[in-house]
C-alpha cells in the first residue's frame, strides 16, 4: 500500500528532517509512528499527503509514485487518503453535517448520495443526531470523531492521523483507537503518529520509531 524507499527530506536552511527512511506498509495494516517532537513524524505524514515533496528517494502510494505527480494530480492522491489532525481542523461556522460532507462534495457526489453516506458515517462514529450542531458546541472527543467521520466518509484506502488523541484524555483516546481498529478490520490501512507511549503499548501494533529524522526501529513488523 505504501513504500518509503530511502527517503530524504531537507527544508531550505534547516537540518535534514528525514534521513534515509525506508519502510513498507501493507494493505489493512495499522501502524504507529512515534518519536520525540521534531523527530520528523509530521514531515513523514506530509510527504504521504503530498503537502511536501521529498528531496531524495521514492514514495509509492497505492502503486503511484507521489514524488512524480503534477500539481493537478495532487487532489486525486489526497482523495485516497483520510487525514486526521490533532487540532481537528473543523470549520467552526459549518454544521457537523457540512463538515463531514466536504470530501464528498469535493469529489462531486450527488446530494442524495452525500446525505446517505454522511448519515451512515456519523452513525458509525456515534454522532447520529448531531448533524445540525456546530463543532464549537461539541466536546473534544466528539469533535475528533467529526474529524474522523470526515476522514473516512469518502472510503479512503489509507488513514493518516497526526496525534489524533493529543488533546484527549486516556478514556476518550481509547475510544478513538477502537474506532481506528474497526476501520482497520474492514481493510483500511492506518498510520497514526503519536507520542502517547502508554496508548501505543496497549495497542500491540507495529511501531515505527523516528529519531532526528532517522528510522530507529521497526517493531513488531509483520510480513
Amino acid at each position: 500500500m505504501l513504500v518509503f524507499d530511502r527517503v530524504y527530506k531537507r527544508y531550505p536552511d534547516a537540518e535534514d528532517a528525514l534521513l534515509d527512511v525506508s519502510f513498507r506498509l501493507h494493505k489493512g495494516e495499522m501502524i504507529f509512528l512515534t518519536g520525540h517532537s521534531g523527530a520528523g513524524k509530521s514531515t513523514l505524514l506530509k510527504l504521504i499527503a503530498v503537502m511536501e515533496k521529498c528531496t531524495r528517494g521514492q514514495i509509492i502510494l497505492d502503486g503511484q509514485n507521489v514524488n512524480r505527480i503534477t500539481d493537478k494530480q495532487i487532489p486525486f492522491v489526497r482523495r485516497k487518503l483520510g487525514l486526521i489532525f490533532q487540532d481537528y481542523k473543523l470549520l467552526q461556522d459549518r454544521t457537523v453535517f457540512d463538515n463531514v460532507a466536504l470530501p464528498l462534495v469535493v469529489a462531486g457526489n450527488s446530494y442524495h448520495e452525500i446525505v446517505r453516506r454522511v448519515r451512515a458515517v456519523l452513525d458509525k462514529v456515534g454522532l447520529s443526531g448531531k448533524e445540525k450542531k456546530y463543532p464549537i458546541t461539541l466536546s473534544g472527543g466528539e469533535q475528533q470523531r467529526v474529524g474522523i467521520a470526515r476522514a473516512v466518509v469518502n472510503k479512503p484506502k489509507m488513514i493518516l492521523a497526526d496525534e489524533p488523541t493529543g488533546n484527549l484524555d486516556p478514556e476518550l483516546s481509547t475510544e478513538i483507537m477502537n474506532l481506528f481498529t474497526q476501520f482497520q478490520q474492514v481493510g483500511v490501512t492506518i498510520l497514526i503518529a503519536s507520542h502517547d507511549r502508554g496508548l501505543i503499548e496497549k495497542m500491540h501494533n507495529r511501531v515505527l520509531h523516528l529519531d532526528h529524522g532517522r528510522l530507529l526501529q521497526d517493531c513488531n513488523e509483520t510480513t
Binding site: 453535517f97 466536504l102 462534495v105 450527488s110 442524495h112 448520495e113 452525500i114 446525505v115 445540525k132
Partner: protein, 329 residues
C-alpha cells in the same frame, strides 16, 4: 467554499427510477453549480458592508463608462443629422430655363458619384422664400424673379474621400449652365474629426474604467480569499481541485459585476431622465431632429454581460495565482 459545504438538511426524496452513473455525476455537477451560484450570493449579502461598498464603487465606474458612451451616442445622433444635409448646391445661370435645368438634373442623376439630386426651381424657391421670410408683400412688388434655379446634389462618399469630392465639384463647375457651386464641407469635416477624437477618447477612458473594475473586483476577491483561507486549506486537504475551490469565488466576481451593472443601468437611466427636459429644449432649436436617447435593449444586455464578465475576469486573475500559492502546512 460555503458553496461546497453548505448543504441544507433535507429529507431525501421519494424513490425514483435509478439513473445512470454518468447521469448522476452530471446531476451532481449541475446541483453543485446552482448551489454555488446562490450560496455565493447569500454569503455576499451576509457581509453587507463590504458588499455594498464594492458594488457602489463598481457601479459608479460602470455608469461613468456607460454614461460616456451614451453621451457620445446622443451627440452622434445630432451630427448624423447634419451629415444628411451634406449637399452641394449648384446655382444655375440666370438665363438657364427651368426645362433646361430639369434636363441637367436628369443628366446628373445618371452619374455614378452622385447619390441624390434635387431640383429647386426659381418659382419654388420664391414661394418658400415668401413663406418663411415674412416679406411676401415686398416680393410681390418685384417684376422679375431674382432667384436662380438651384440643383442640390448629394454626393457619394463625399466626406470620406477628399480627392473624389473636389473632382466632383470642379466637374460640376465646368458645366456651361452652372453659375457657381457652393460646397463648404470644411466645418462638417472638422466636426467629424472632433467626433472621431471624442470617440477615441471615450474608448480609451472606458478601457481605463474597465481596468479599474478588474482591479477592484480582483482586490475584493483577494480579501475574501484571505478571510476564507482556512476553508480553502481544509478543502485542499480533503482533495479539492483548484478549479473546485475557484468556482464559488468566480461566482462572487460574477455577482459583483452583475449587480453593479444593474445599478449602473439604473443610474444612467436616471441621469438621462434628469437631462431629458433640457435636451428637449435644445432639440427644439434644432427643429426637433433628435430625442434624448436611452440605453436600448441590446445595449442594456451588453452592459450587463460586460460588467459580469469583468467581475469574473478580475476574480479569475487573482484566484489563478493565489489559490496555487495557498498550500496546507
Amino acid at each position: 467554499m460555503a458553496a461546497y459545504c453548505k448543504i441544507a438538511m433535507k429529507q431525501p426524496r421519494a424513490k425514483q427510477k435509478r439513473p445512470t452513473r454518468t447521469g448522476l455525476k452530471i446531476k451532481a455537477y449541475l446541483q453543485f453549480h446552482a448551489q454555488a451560484l446562490f450560496s455565493s450570493l447569500g454569503r455576499l449579502i451576509r457581509s453587507p458592508g463590504t458588499f455594498s461598498m464594492t458594488v457602489a464603487v463598481l457601479a459608479l465606474a460602470i455608469s461613468l463608462a456607460g454614461g460616456f458612451y451614451l453621451l457620445l451616442a446622443n451627440i452622434q445622433q445630432l451630427t448624423g443629422n447634419l451629415e444628411a444635409s451634406n449637399q452641394i448646391s449648384i446655382f444655375l445661370k440666370h438665363e438657364v430655363s427651368e426645362v433646361n435645368g430639369q434636363q441637367l438634373v436628369n443628366e446628373l442623376k445618371t452619374k455614378p458619384d452622385i447619390s441624390n439630386v434635387l431640383f429647386i426651381s426659381k418659382r419654388q424657391a420664391m414661394g418658400e422664400f415668401k413663406q418663411y421670410s415674412g416679406f411676401s408683400n415686398a416680393f410681390d412688388a418685384l417684376v422679375d424673379n431674382p432667384l436662380p434655379n438651384v440643383i442640390q446634389v448629394l454626393p457619394k462618399d463625399a466626406l470620406t474621400d477628399d480627392i473624389l469630392f473636389n473632382k466632383l465639384v470642379s466637374k460640376l463647375e465646368q458645366i456651361p449652365e452652372v453659375d457657381f457651386v457652393q460646397a463648404d464641407m470644411a466645418w462638417l469635416k472638422r466636426l467629424q474629426a472632433m467626433m472621431q477624437l471624442a470617440n477615441r477618447s471615450i474608448v480609451i477612458l472606458n478601457s481605463l474604467l474597465a481596468l479599474a473594475i478588474l482591479f477592484i473586483t480582483g482586490n475584493t476577491i483577494r480579501l475574501e480569499l484571505q478571510n476564507r483561507k482556512e476553508e480553502v486549506l481544509i478543502a485542499k486537504l480533503v482533495g479539492a481541485t483548484n478549479r473546485f475551490i475557484q468556482r464559488p469565488f468566480l461566482y462572487s466576481g460574477f455577482w459583483y459585476g452583475f449587480i453593479a451593472g444593474i445599478i449602473a443601468w439604473v443610474l444612467i437611466t436616471v441621469i438621462v431622465l434628469l437631462l431629458q427636459h433640457p435636451l428637449e429644449q435644445l432639440s427644439e432649436l434644432y427643429d426637433e431632429r433628435f430625442n434624448a436617447r436611452y440605453l436600448n435593449f441590446e445595449e442594456t444586455i451588453l452592459l450587463l454581460i460586460t460588467s459580469a464578465s469583468l467581475g469574473i475576469l478580475g476574480a479569475w486573475a487573482v484566484l489563478n495565482r493565489q489559490i496555487h500559492q495557498l498550500k496546507p502546512d
